[in-house]
Every structure is written in structure tokens, then in C-alpha cells.
Amino acid sequence: MKKTGLTLVAVGLTGLSLGASAQDEAGFITLASTTSTENSGLFDAIIPLFTDKSGIKVRVVAVGTGQAFEIARRGDADSLLVHDTAGEKHFVQEGYGTERADVMVNDFVLIGPGEDPAGLSEAETVEQAFGRIADAEAPFASRGDDSGTNRAELRLWEAAGVEPGGDWYRELGSGMGPTLNTAAGMDAYVMADRATWVAFDNPQNLELLFEGDDALFNQYGSVLIDPERHPHLKHDLAEQWHEWLLSEEGQQAIADFEVKGQQLFFPNAAE
């Protein structure tokens, strides 16, 4: 009886959901991805092209990379597009994913107050830049949320031989956008992905101070989820999305996407 009641409620609520999106039923997939791809507007530019061609809609849940992995592990997303190559490979090794492929790159940049108290613009490598921030004990806003950007930032501190900590190092536990808002408010240095930075509308006193080191390379990968572990997922549709991203057409769509006249993502799928 209890089960029947629950089913009734669930069916009723499903009806409500359908009412909101009945026309979507031709087919959709849920894509777990990162805030950088969503906030920059990339998905608004490329998903309609894929939908026109395949008839498949893509519902994007944009979260930090750590949370995106967790959503995919639990079987709540059909596909995964994130930027933490080591984490993606681990995800496949653990048996949650069957395949990962390079899709595109952008890069991280170091942002800070225009006065540049730590002298980042004089640094030649990213290790020097991070070292200068630590030496000056200039305020640094860290994502602190186990996102792809946060993981990359922690690797760079390690490479610079700095154990970040102390009053100047502030872990915010927020997404990229909120972290930039906070950094603008407290004149702190911050590492951001270029896409979010260029699309960001509230820079106040913040400026781009360091860019171009190879270590700031930010690789995005698409991961297919293992059908055996989560048989209910829409693997056929997800595979079409995955293949399209890697196809000439998908790669071209990524290259064509610009914000404020600037290309933000550079396709680099293997031939």
C-alpha cells in the first residue's frame, strides 16, 4: 500500500515535470559539466547546433568538477564534460566510465588588483608568480571547492614549492564567479579560467596580470559512462553527443564561439 501511494505521488509529479517540457520527450540527455563552460555561454552556442542535427536536447547541470564526478558516479547524468584529466582517467579506471577523450583546451590566468602589490607582471613563469604572491603574503582567493580549477591551483602551489596557508590565503568554497566577485571585493589575487574571466562583468579593480605559461593549460575531456554500471542511462544518446563533440562539426562549433570578440576554447580532439 505504501509503495502504491509513493508511486502515485511520483507519477503525479512526473506529470508535472512533463507538463513543463512535453516537447522535450523526443529525447534528451543530462550532461554534468562545469560552471566555466556554462557561465561563459559556450553551451548556449553549441548545444542548439547539436540539437538541430540530432533531435537530442542536452540538459546541462553546471557544478564544480568534484560534484560533477559525484553526480555521474551515482548515475544521475548521462554524460560528463569536465576539466580534470587526472580525475577523468581515475573515473574510467574505477569502472564508472568506458572512454574519455580530449575535447578542447583553454587556459588559466592570474588575476589581481591593478596595483599588483606582489609584482606578478614581472614574473616569467607561473611558479615565480605564485612564489611572489606567497612572499608578499598578498591576499589570494582560492576556490577551495575541489573543482577542476581548485585542483589545478593546488598543483601549481606545489610546483612553486609553497604550502599555501595563513591569513593571506583565503579558501572561499565557492564557484568561479562568486570567487571572482569576492576577490574583486577584497582586492585579492585569484586564478581563473580564461572563459569565466572574459565573460565576467564585475571586475571592479581586477586585471589580468599573468598568462601564457604552458603549466596553465586547461584540458577539457568528455567521458562516456559505463552502461553496465548504470543500465538505465541513455547511453546511445550520450554517445551521439560525445561523438559530435569530437567530430569536425562539433570542433568547428567550439572554435567559432567567441565572447567579446575573443575565442575562448580551442578544440583539440585527437584526429
Binding site: 511520483a10 509529479l13 512526473t14 522535450d24 543530462t30 547541470v61 544521475d76 564585475n202
Partner: protein, 234 residues
């Protein structure tokens, strides 16, 4: 503060412009929160009244628990519903996660304690006035519930509005269980969070003003209905 003036202009442009995307977001916000309040009220009104009328061991504890649940953080409710509806969770088979249905469930959990706890208080006060009369007429306790709820209806309208306020204002729960998917599960509050994270503060504040106007309209409608009903019934 140029941004503040901007926000009002943006809000006005949003309202006047009739942008279909915004309209969809507004409609979904209303649909989700009103459905949640309706479902919560269907359970919470009789529950609150029953709690007011019946004496049983542990009643004090039940009331304190119910009152405490009014302070349940939305993000915790969202997380609990997420774990419940996730494919790996007990109700995963229904595929409700990241749909408006999941958002309704989360908001019901947030709204139900508010309506139940405040109903309990209102009905208890009313009952202490009516008790002797109802007893002398030999009305059983379960028959008293509809009578008391009906007589307390004006106060209970405010109670329901408090519930609606909680539902339409919260963002922590709907963000987790809805996923803020464009065109599917994006509501006013999650859209505000998204625009804030893009640094588009005037638009975010503009959306906030639109939401406030919307909530004010709902409250005005409820007020009008109450006034008219009172006048007609003398």
C-alpha cells in the same frame, strides 16, 4: 552607486519586455512553489489541527520537533531529497532528479513544518475559546477539525502565505535537486545565483526585484480574497 539605479531599470525592462525566457522562469517558479504549498497544506492543516486537539504522551516533544523543523536549512532538505531521488537512492527508479517534480518535493519538506506548526498554534487558541461550546454539543474531536480549520481560515491564509514565502525565496534546495537547467528547472532564485556568479549584478538584482513584485502580487491577491470573504460573511 550606479548599479542600483541600473537594477531598477533592468527590472523595469524585464517586466515590460515580456521576454519569453523570463516568462518561462517566472511561470515555473510559481508552478513549483504554489504546488508545493498546496501539497504541504493538504497534509499540514489536518496534522496541525490534530496536534492541537489530541493529548498523547510525547506531544510536547512532537511540537518542539515540528517547531524546530521550521528552521531546517533548505540546502539540507535539498541534499536529503537529492540522495533519495538519485539513481543510486531508494526512489531513483522514478527518474525525478533534475525535474520540477523533485523541486516540489524539496519545497514541500520545507513548507510543511511551517504550516503545521503555525496551524497547531492557531487552532489550539481557537479551541480554548470554543471548547465548552463544542463539548456541550457533543461534537467529537475528529469532527471538530474541519469546523476549527474553517473558523481559523483568515489566520491560516497568512500561515499559507508564510509557507509560500519560504518556498519562493529559497534557493539551496532547488539548486541541488533541480540542477538549474536552462528551460527545465531554472527558477527565479537559481537564475539570480547564476547571474551573480557571472558578475552580472544589475540583472541579478533586477530579477530579485521582479521576484519581490511577484510575491507582493500573490500576497495582494490573498488579501483581497480574504477581505471579500469577510465582507460577504459579515
Amino acid at each position: 552607486m550606479p548599479d542600483d539605479a541600473n537594477a531598477f531599470q533592468t527590472a523595469l525592462a524585464l517586466i515590460m519586455g515580456g521576454d519569453p525566457d523570463l516568462l518561462g522562469i517566472v511561470m515555473l517558479s510559481l508552478q513549483v512553489s504554489l504546488t508545493a504549498v498546496l501539497i504541504a497544506a493538504l497534509i499540514a492543516l489536518p496534522l496541525g489541527a490534530a496536534l492541537a486537539l489530541w493529548q498523547f504522551p510525547g506531544r510536547g516533544v512532537a511540537i518542539v520537533m515540528l517547531n524546530a523543523m521550521m528552521g531546517l536549512p533548505p540546502v539540507v532538505a535539498g541534499l536529503a531529497v537529492y540522495l533519495l531521488l538519485s539513481r543510486a537512492g531508494p526512489l531513483g527508479e522514478f527518474g525525478l532528479l533534475f525535474t520540477p517534480g523533485a523541486m516540489v518535493i524539496a519545497q514541500v519538506i520545507l513548507v510543511l513544518p511551517i504550516i503545521a506548526a503555525l496551524t497547531r498554534q492557531q487552532v489550539e487558541e481557537l479551541h480554548s475559546e470554543y471548547r465548552e461550546q463544542l463539548s456541550s454539543m457533543g461534537v467529537s474531536r475528529s469532527r471538530r477539525i474541519p469546523t476549527l480549520l474553517w473558523d481559523a481560515r483568515l489566520g491560516l491564509t497568512t500561515v499559507m502565505l508564510a509557507g509560500f514565502g519560504r518556498a519562493s525565496a529559497e534557493v539551496g534546495a532547488v539548486m541541488i535537486v533541480g540542477g538549474n537547467i536552462d528551460g527545465v528547472s531554472r527558477v527565479m532564485t537559481t537564475a539570480i545565483v547564476l547571474e551573480t556568479s557571472k558578475g552580472n549584478l544589475p540583472l541579478a538584482l533586477g530579477l530579485g526585484i521582479v521576484l519581490l513584485v511577484l510575491v507582493a502580487l500573490i500576497n495582494a491577491a490573498a488579501h483581497l480574497v480574504g477581505e471579500t470573504a469577510q465582507r460577504r460573511l459579515g
